[in-house]
């Protein structure tokens, strides 16, 4: 069956069975392999992408349920420049194996989009659906706080230039 999807600002048409989870459309059909498979049942967060501005688990939503909302994956997170969250991840050297980190970054960017200055409790609540088998949680927390401060600076910078 044909489905038209808006992924990372591009319209993609895919021919798959309607029950195919978004995760496997991304990975095996569109070759966007940044989004990862961890559990296939919505409990690990490795497959997190944005549907509209919400973080969702792409393993648990069939392609037929997506509607026409735009989808953003890790590959589409930053078009020209890196997102402050990516920069924070890099400067704090967050990943170990790195496998969970695309999902972590997608959850973190959604958090900061809705809550630009999260408390530690906000961070723990928003991020506890994302497992990290390597146990990099301490760094992830620090990186989100760092990104929040970067994002703030970037926004302030933009405003200053705009005015």
């Amino acid at each position: 069956m044909l489905f038209k999807l808006k992924i990372n600002q591009r319209i993609e048409t895919v021919d798959v069975s309607p029950d195919t989870p978004l995760l496997w459309v991304l990975r095996d059909v569109l070759h966007l392999v940044g989004t990862k498979y961890g559990c296939g049942m919505g409990v690990c967060g490795a497959c997190t992408v944005h549907l509209g501005d919400q973080a969702i688990r792409s393993c648990s939503i069939p392609v037929s349920a997506l509607g026409d909302q735009p989808i953003t994956t890790i590959e589409g997170l930053a078009e020209a420049e890196r997102h402050p969250v990516q920069l924070a991840w890099e400067s704090l050297d967050v990943p170990q194996c790195g496998y969970c980190q695309a999902g972590q970054i997608m959850s973190a960017t959604a958090l900061l989009h809705h809550t630009p200055h999260p408390t530690v409790e906000d961070i723990d609540a928003a991020m506890s659906g994302n497992l990290c088998r390597c146990g990099t949680y301490t760094r992830i927390r620090e990186a989100i706080q760092h990104a929040a401060s970067l994002g703030h600076t970037a926004a302030a910078h933009k405003t200053a230039h705009g005015e």
Binding site: V16, S17, D19, T20, P21, W24, R27, D28, H31, L32, V33, G34, T35, K36, Y37, G38, C39, G40, M41, V43, C44, A46, T73, I74, E75, L77, A78, R82, Q86, W89, E90, S91, D93, V94, P95, Q96, C97, G98, Y99, C100, Q101, A102, I105, I123, D124, A125, M127, S128, G129, N130, L131, C132, R133, C134, G135, Y137, T138, R139, I140, R141
Partner: protein, 743 residues
């Protein structure tokens, strides 16, 4: 014989099927081991613009090997790290030496040769410049990727010199001059993980990301019971499903027996090859298979527990080590404490499930492997498929975690087996459920302990009867302990006995194998003994470490199962004490508050050549929910912390991993593993993460590895803290079996 038994990775036993995984040997290589002569040309390539490519020889699954080993080369080569590009080497041990990652051995085994490779490359560049300038080599120096002659102000970049330097004959590696550590500009300075930009932007990087033109996707349905065989299946129906290209029965080669070897063979099942993995998975749900489950279907956790109880009451099957006449003198102790400790099987649960990609073409096999023991993988593929080793090419791909799982190569052999029957590249991927039910599990175990104290409250006796799995002297992989593991040798009278029951199940090394269980047992029971003596556990242990040691004597077995000696033959008591004292100081141990519902626990361990002591600060609420608030860790891995920021991350990860293990359990009923995914074999989440502070005790010993040694002490540190908070001793894991839960 002893030298030989300790030799690094005895692959010779592979053919017999009973591979002893001797990863954890001493840092000096055995004299008789033949290693290829490493050359700087194999590892270093310098472009005319000075950009220096350094080959990373070891596999990468998150321990930072792609940084650590190249950093050693770059340091002695004397280039700026910003001009270094790291490239993963393909498998070629004749060129690169050992290419495996396990047992925290890359640092101790790479520290010397990798620096020498860098120094030899530097020496070639200096010789080239000196010749061009007609000056003595001794008059030239190097800095920032240049050869310099200070007196004349002459300077040549490595990029200019590289091509003629590369054609010179490299000096013997033991003949090069190494820097004084005070000159280090890279070692001891944090470098960013070389793959991090690719990770944060979602570039293809991991085993699961490998894509080749015309590639097909494979999934394997195996029996719900270990080594169960296919009698009948509706394969023709499956073949008609959308996207399905091939469906085969894998006969398999495993023979269920009381002792299951490290690589027991290929497991039977049904391979489904499709255009996409989802199609293969969908077809799997329609499979109707009549299985011949075989003898493993009779196994259950309840049965194991019953049998362990019986064995504990019987005379031990095997005496591993005794001294000090434990049996005849234990009754003379002023106080005797008896306890039984029990811990479960647990699974690896690497974040990336197992899998591999393989392509059979024109009589050659090309493999994209996440194995941390790739040469062993190549040998197994050659042996299983009956092809020549030289017809196999292995690309080493980053993996989403190993924790010991990828030391085994079962998934790689399966991918190659399928690829050989398919006229296209094939990517095999296990589902999470496959990954748990076909893991090489950390074996469970039971330990019957008796400890004795003298009238002054000193530890005098330690008698332990270890109930494990296997047959006679063939014990389940990944479940052994050192017969000289602490506190052996430090206790005046000691005995270690073993008894084993059959196990038809794959087991293997899980991060800090053996130690991840025995440290919990030993450091919990030491805490119990200190309490029985009315003494502080830290002071009790420092005194024990000051005892005159009972030496290990030649001829005594040095380990049980495939564990490596870790005790008095290699343990330095001053280092053990050093980390205990440091962690006590940093955690405020001496002035800790005692209050109901909140407590601190301390534990330390030596394994994989590293020393760690950890203190946990824990609270337990009225419903027995446990929160870990703080963990302080003190480590001694020698004179250098090569990549400090990554090292700290690794320690924090080891602590989280050890804490997760406290709540995990794999159980069997009718031979079936009952857990299936992260919801019923959980790993801890961010909201459960304590504040973790890491401290280093620098000593003058050569640097050693960090993948494993931070993990073991946190288990007893937490359970000892629960005791301090509640007065209830945890002798059975997981925590839930002792009436506690994570908050």
């Amino acid at each position: 014989m002893r030298m030989n038994r300790r030799s690094f990775l005895q692959l010779a036993t592979l053919a017999g099927g009973g591979m002893a995984l001797r990863l954890y040997h001493l840092p000096t290589l055995d004299a008789q081991e033949k290693l290829p002569e490493l050359t700087p040309q194999a590892f270093v390539h310098i472009a005319p613009d000075g950009i220096t490519t350094i080959m990373a020889r070891a596999s990468e699954s998150g321990q930072g090997m792609r940084n650590m080993l190249p950093m050693l080369i770059a340091e002695e080569l004397d280039v700026d790290w910003k001009n270094v590009r790291v490239q993963q080497a393909d498998l070629d041990e004749s060129r690169y030496g050992r290419q495996f990652s396990g047992g925290s051995m890359n640092t101790p085994l790479g520290w010397d040769p990798m620096r020498r490779v860098g120094a030899a490359a530097r020496q070639l560049l200096v010789a080239t410049a000196a010749e061009q300038w007609n000056l003595p080599v001794s008059a030239c120096t190097t800095a920032h990727g240049h050869v310099l002659h200070k007196a004349t102000g002459r300077s040549a970049s490595y990029g200019e010199l590289a091509s003629s330097a590369a054609s010179r004959k490299a000096p013997p590696l033991d003949n090069v001059t190494l820097k004084d550590p005070s000159e280090y500009r890279i070692i001891g300075h944090s470098t960013q993980g070389v793959d991090i930009p690719a990770i944060t932007t979602g570039k293809p990087l991991f085993g699961i990301d490998v894509e080749l033109p015309g590639m097909l996707y494979a999934s394997i349905q195996k029996a719900p019971v270990f080594a169960g065989k296919v009698k009948n299946a509706n394969l023709d129906e499956i073949r008609k499903m959308p996207g399905i290209r091939h469906v085969f029965v894998i006969e398999g080669t495993i023979r269920p027996a009381a002792f299951t070897p490290w690589e027991p063979g290929i497991e039977p099942g049904i391979a489904i090859v499709a255009d996409t993995w989802w199609q293969a998975q969908t077809a799997r749900t329609q499979l109707k298979v009549d299985w011949d489950l075989g003898p493993a279907a009779s196994q259950s956790s309840e049965g194991f527990r019953q049998r362990a109880k019986e064995l504990l009451a019987e005379p031990p099957g095997n005496t591993v080590r005794t001294y000090g006449n434990v049996e005849s003198s234990l009754h003379t102790a002023a106080k005797v404490v008896q306890a039984t400790y029990e811990y479960p099987f647990i699974a690896h649960m690497t974040m990336e499930a197992q899998g591999a990609t393989a392509h059979w073409k024109n009589g050659r096999m090309e493999m994209w492997s996440t194995s941390t023991q790739p040469e062993n993988g190549r040998e197994l593929v050659a042996q299983t498929l009956g092809i020549d080793k030289s017809a196999i090419t292995t690309h080493m791909i980053r993996s989403g975690g190993s924790f010991g799982r990828r030391l085994q190569n079962d998934y790689l052999v399966e991918a190659a087996w399928i690829a050989k029957r398919v006229d296209a590249p094939v990517k095999l991927l296990w589902s999470r459920e496959d990954d748990i039910s076909h893991d090489g599990l950390r074996p469970g175990g039971t330990m019957g302990l008796m400890g004795g104290l003298d009238a002054r409250g000193r530890l005098t006796h330690w008698r332990q009867h270890f109930i494990t799995f296997g047959e006679n002297h063939h014990l389940a992989s990944g479940g052994g302990i050192g017969s000289d593991s602490y506190p052996a040798g430090f206790v005046p009278a000691y005995a270690l006995y073993t008894s084993a029951q059959p196990l038809m199940l794959r087991t293997g090394a899980l991060r800090a194998p053996g130690d991840n269980a025995y440290c919990w047992v030993a450091q919990s029971f030491l805490d119990e003994m200190a309490f029985a003596a009315g003494r502080d556990p830290l002071e009790f242990q420092l005194e024990l470490l000051s005892n005159q040691r009972v030496p290990w004597t030649v001829g005594q077995p040095d380990a049980v199962g495939d564990h490596e000696p870790t005790g008095p033959s290699v343990l330095v008591p001053e280092r053990f004490k050093g980390v205990l004292q440091l962690v006590a100081e940093k955690s405020g141990w001496a002035t800790r508050k005692k209050q109901p519902g909140r407590g601190m626990g301390i534990a330390a361990w030596f394994c994989h050549l590293g020393y760690f002591a950890e203190v946990a600060d824990v609270s337990v609420d009225k419903d027995n929910n446990v929160t870990v608030h703080n963990v302080w860790a003190a480590g001694d891995i020698g004179s250098q912390i090569i990549n400090p920021r990554a090292a700290e991350n690794m320690v924090q990860g080891g602590i989280m991993d050890g804490m997760s293990a406290l709540g995990q359990e794999i159980t069997l009923a009718n031979g079936r593993i009952e857990q299936s995914n992260f919801h019923n074999h959980p790993i801890l989440r961010m909201r459960q993460t304590p504040k973790i502070e890491v401290f280093w005790n620098r000593t003058h010993y050569p640097p050693t590895g960090l993948g494993e040694p931070s993990l073991p002490p946190v288990l007893p540190a937490v359970t000892n803290a629960i005791f301090a908070a509640t007065g209830r001793r945890i002798r059975t894991l997981p925590l839930q079996r002792s009436g506690f839960n994570w908050a």
